[in-house]
Amino acid sequence: MKIVLLGLCALIIPGTALAGGMNDDPLLTKVMINQLEIRSAEGSNPLAWDAEGWIGKDLNKLWLKTEGEYVSGKVSDMESQALYSRAVAPFWDMQVGWRHDKLENPAPHRDWLTLGVRGLAPYSFDVDGAVFIGDNGRLAARLKVEYDILFTQRLILVPEIKINVYSRDDPATATGSGLANIETGLRLRYEIRREFAPYIGLNWNRLYGKSADYAREEGGDVDNVRLLVGLRTWF
C-alpha cells in the first residue's frame, strides 16, 4: 500500500511551473472534518465523524477519506479510503483507489477497490458516488448527495442523503444484497469563520431488506433518528 501511495505522490508532486517567479499551481493540502458529532442514543452516545483530506495540485490530488463511530471508549466501525483524484471535467473529479472497512469484532475487515466520481452537479448539488469492488466479486455502490441552503451568509442548512447498495449478502458484516440503508441528515451550521462551524442536526438511518433482517437478529435498530451536535472545520 505504501508503495502505491508513494507512487501516487510521485505522480502528483512534480512539474512545478514558474510564471514571472510565481507558481500558479502550488502543492496544497486541505483537511476537512465535515462532521464530528455526538449523536443521541440509548446507552452511551456515539461520537461519529466524517472527514477528508487531500494533498495535491489543481488537477491531480491524493485524497484520504474516513468515517466511523466511536462508542464506549472504542472505535466501533471505521471506513477509510485512499484515492487518486483527477479532474476530468470542469466540475467533476474521478477518484480511484482503495477502501478499507474495519468493523466491530468479530466481523471481518473488508477491502474494496473504489471507482468514484465526485463533484458539483447542476443546481449545485454536491455529489460523491462510487462503485466498490470487493473480494470474490462482491460489489457495492454508494451515492452521497448534499446541498447547502443559505439562510444567511453564515447560517447554513445542509440536507444530506446517503444510499448504500450491495450485490450480495454478507452475513459476516451484516449487509444484505440490494438496498442496505438510506441515511438522511439535516444539519444547521453557523460559520463563525469559514473554517469553523458548530452545528446541530438530525440523522435518520434506516436499514432495508436483508440488512434490516441481520440487524433485527442481532437485536439492533433498523430505524433510528438521532439528534446530534457537532463541529465542522477545515484547514
Binding site: A19, D24, L28, A87, A89, P90, Y123
Partner: protein, 604 residues
C-alpha cells in the same frame, strides 16, 4: 519650459531619507505655484502616512521589509524607501532617468514601470525582461522618457505587490498641458490584507468563494418569488443553477480581508486634500490594488476626465467612473467652498477607500452609503443578444453547448454596439471576426465559454448601469490627438480569457502561462488583439512595452491605454503597433489571476 523644482532635485535625492521629508517643506516653498506644490502641502496635513515625493533624473530606491499598521495590527509590508505606498516619483518627459533599485528582501524582487514605453531590459519583469533583483542586489534602470502622464510602479515578483510594493509615477510633460489647474494631487487606491498573500491564494484554491459573503440566501429567493412569481423566478434562477455559477460572484477577494487605502490611509482616517476657494484641482487617480476595482465619485462635484492611463483624452465630464486594477484616470474638479468626500467603493461594495477635499481642515464631508450589491446578469455571462434581442432567455444555448463560431454567425458584418449599428473591421471600429472557441478551451480547467460575446463599450459595467449618475464608459474615450499609426490591422489575434472559478484556475484560451507558447508579434506590424471574456469576472488586461489602442468607434482618435478592462462575457479589441523589440509580459492584472492568465509576447 523649465520649472524651479528641476534645480533642486539632485539635492533632495542626496539627502538621507529621514531628513528628506523635512527637506521637502523647503523645496515646496521654492516651487511656488508651480506644477506640484499641492501634493507637497498634502503631507503636511494628512495624518499618518506621508506622501513622499522624489524628483530628478537619478534615483536610489530601496526595497525592504517595513512594519505597517493599517488595521490595528502590526504587519510586515514590502516597502520602497520605507513607505507604503512607495514615494511619488516625478519624472520629466524627455529626461533620461537612472534608477538604482536595491533589494533588501530575503527573496528576489523587481520594479516594473507600469505604462512606460521603454527598452525591454528596463521593464522589470523577472524571467522576461531580466533575471530579477537578487537579495542584496542592485539593478540599474536607465531609459529615456518619451511620454508624459500619470502612471505607477510596482513589483512584478511573487505577491509583493499585495504587500505594499507599489507607488505613483508622474511624468511631467515637456510642453504645456491642454488643461489648467492649480492643485495637483496623486490619489493612489490600493487594497491591504493582514493575511499573507500566499494564504489568500491557497484559500481561494481550497474554497473559491471563501471571501464572498454576498451569496444568494433563502430570503433573496423569497423576495424574488414575491416580486416576480414562482415561474419567472424559476426561469431566472435555473440557468445559473444548471451552470453551477453564482450571479453574486463579483470579486474573488473582498473587504472581508481587505482594508482599502487611499494614499495609504485606511477609510476610518481617510486622506485629505486641501484647496483654496476657486481653485481647480487635478486628481491623478491610480488603482494600485492587487484585486480590487473601484467605482469613484465625489458626491456633489462633477469630474472632468482629461486623461486615461496617462494619455490625454478629449475631456468628458462625469459623476462617476470605474477604475480597473492598474488603470489611471486624471480628472479636474472645480470645488465650491465646502468639503467633499472622494469616495471609492469596491466593485462588490464590500468596502471603500475615501478622502476629503476641503478648503478647511475643520470642515467634514458626509460619507455616502455603499451602493446595493450588484448582481450579474445574463449579459455578464456572454449570453445577451444584440440590442434588439433583449434579455437572454432559456432558449439560448448554454455556453457549454456553444458551437465554434456560432456567436458571430449572424453578425458577421453588422454588430450591434449599444443603439447604433457599427461597421466593424477598420482600425478603431473593432473586430468583425467570428468568435471561435478553440479545442484547448475545453477541459476541466475551463468552466464556461461565452455563447454570444458582444462589444459593450457603452456599458459602464455591472453595478453602474442606470444608477442615475453619469458614469464614464469606454465609448467616451477619444484621444485628444489624431491616431499616430492610422494603418488598418494586418492581422488579428483572438484571445479568450478563460478560467474555472471553483478550481480557481485562470488561463488564456484554456492554457495557463506555464504551458503556453509565447505570442509572436512581427516588428513593425499593426495588429489587432481581440479579447473574448469567457468568465464572469472583469479582467484588466495589461500589455507591456506597447500601447493598447482601444477601439472605441473612431479610427481617427483612438485612445491609448496600457490596461484594458475586459468585461464579463464580452468582447473588446485594441490595436497594437509592434514597435518595441524584445520579450514583453501580457497578462491579467488581478494578482491572483495573473499566474495563469499570462502570456509572454516576443516582438522580433
Amino acid at each position: 519650459m523649465k520649472t524651479p523644482h528641476l534645480k533642486n532635485n539632485s539635492r533632495q535625492i542626496s539627502l538621507p531619507r529621514r531628513r528628506f521629508v523635512k527637506g521637502l517643506a523647503a523645496s515646496g516653498a521654492l516651487l511656488g505655484m508651480g506644477v506640484s506644490p499641492a501634493s507637497l502641502l498634502a503631507e503636511t496635513y494628512s495624518q499618518g502616512v506621508e506622501q513622499k515625493i522624489l524628483t530628478g533624473r537619478q534615483f536610489k530606491l530601496t526595497i525592504a521589509p517595513q512594519t505597517v499598521n493599517f488595521t490595528g495590527r502590526t504587519r510586515l509590508a514590502t516597502a520602497v524607501n520605507g513607505s507604503v505606498p512607495g514615494p511619488v516619483i516625478r519624472w520629466r518627459q524627455g529626461d533620461r532617468v537612472k534608477i538604482d533599485v536595491t533589494n533588501k528582501l530575503a527573496e528576489s524582487s523587481s520594479i516594473h514601470w507600469h505604462g512606460i514605453i521603454l527598452p525591454a531590459p528596463m521593464d522589470g519583469v523577472p524571467d522576461i525582461s531580466f533575471k530579477g533583483i537578487a537579495p542584496g542586489g542592485t539593478y540599474h534602470y536607465e531609459f529615456q522618457l518619451r511620454q508624459s502622464g500619470t502612471y505607477w510602479y510596482h513589483s512584478h515578483s511573487g505577491f509583493q505587490e499585495q504587500t505594499g510594493l507599489y507607488g505613483p509615477l508622474i511624468v511631467e510633460p515637456d510642453e504645456p498641458e491642454p488643461f489648467s489647474y492649480k492643485r495637483d494631487y496623486v490619489v493612489m487606491l490600493s487594497d491591504w490584507s493582514d493575511e499573507e498573500p500566499a494564504d489568500i491564494y491557497a484559500k481561494l484554491k481550497k474554497m473559491s468563494d471563501y471571501y464572498n459573503f454576498n451569496e444568494r440566501t433563502v430570503s433573496d429567493l423569497e423576495g424574488d418569488i414575491r416580486r416576480q412569481g414562482l415561474v419567472r423566478t424559476w426561469a431566472a434562477r435555473s440557468m445559473w443553477n444548471r451552470m453551477r455559477m453564482s450571479d453574486r460572484d463579483l470579486s474573488d477577494v473582498t473587504g472581508y480581508t481587505y482594508t482599502f487605502l487611499m494614499n495609504g490611509h485606511p477609510p476610518a482616517q481617510g486622506w485629505t486634500g486641501l484647496f483654496k476657494r476657486g481653485e481647480k484641482v487635478r486628481l491623478r487617480i491610480i488603482n494600485g490594488s492587487a484585486m480590487t476595482f473601484f467605482d469613484v465619485r465625489i458626491p456633489g462635484l462633477a469630474m472632468t476626465v482629461v486623461a486615461a492611463d496617462g494619455q490625454n483624452i478629449e475631456p468628458v465630464t462625469v459623476d462617476e467612473f470605474r477604475i480597473g486594477v492598474a488603470e489611471t484616470y486624471d480628472v479636474i474638479v472645480e470645488p465650491a467652498e465646502r468639503a467633499y468626500c472622494l469616495f471609492a467603493q469596491a466593485l462588490d461594495r464590500s468596502g471603500y477607500a475615501r478622502g476629503t477635499l476641503t478648503p478647511d481642515l475643520s470642515l467634514k464631508a458626509g460619507i455616502p452609503a455603499l451602493d446595493p450589491y450588484p448582481i450579474l446578469t445574463h449579459q455578464d455571462m456572454g449570453m445577451a443578444m444584440s440590442a434588439k434581442g433583449g434579455q437572454g432567455n432559456r432558449t439560448h444555448n448554454m455556453p457549454e453547448m456553444a458551437m465554434p463560431g456560432m456567436g458571430a454567425a449572424g453578425h458577421k458584418k453588422m454588430v450591434a454596439g449599444g443603439h447604433n449599428m457599427i461597421q466593424r473591421g477598420p482600425a478603431g471600429m473593432g473586430s468583425d471576426t467570428p468568435v471561435v472557441h478553440v479545442a484547448s478551451e475545453y477541459g476541466p480547467q475551463v468552466d464556461a465559454r461565452a455563447a454570444n460575446p458582444q462589444y459593450h463599450l457603452d456599458d459602464p459595467g455591472v453595478g453602474l448601469r442606470r444608477n442615475g449618475r453619469r458614469v464614464l464608459r469606454y465609448s467616451d474615450l477619444r484621444n485628444l490627438y489624431p491616431t499616430a499609426d492610422s494603418r488598418d490591422p494586418s492581422r488579428e489575434i483572438q484571445l479568450h480569457l478563460t478560467g474555472n472559478m471553483a478550481r480557481y484556475m485562470w488561463s488564456i484560451n484554456g492554457i495557463k502561462y506555464a504551458d503556453a507558447e509565447p505570442l509572436s508579434f512581427k516588428y513593425g506590424e499593426r495588429l489587432r488583439i481581440t479579447f473574448i471574456n469567457d468568465t464572469m469576472m472583469n479582467h484588466p488586461m495589461h500589455l507591456h512595452g506597447m500601447w493598447s489602442e482601444l477601439e472605441t468607434g473612431d479610427g481617427r482618435y483612438i485612445p491609448r491605454k496600457h490596461t484594458v478592462i475586459v468585461q464579463p462575457g464580452s468582447r473588446i479589441s485594441y490595436l497594437v503597433s509592434a514597435d518595441a523589440m524584445g520579450g514583453w509580459a501580457f497578462h491579467c492584472h488581478l494578482l491572483y489571476h495573473m499566474l495563469g492568465m499570462f502570456r509572454k509576447v516576443i516582438v522580433s
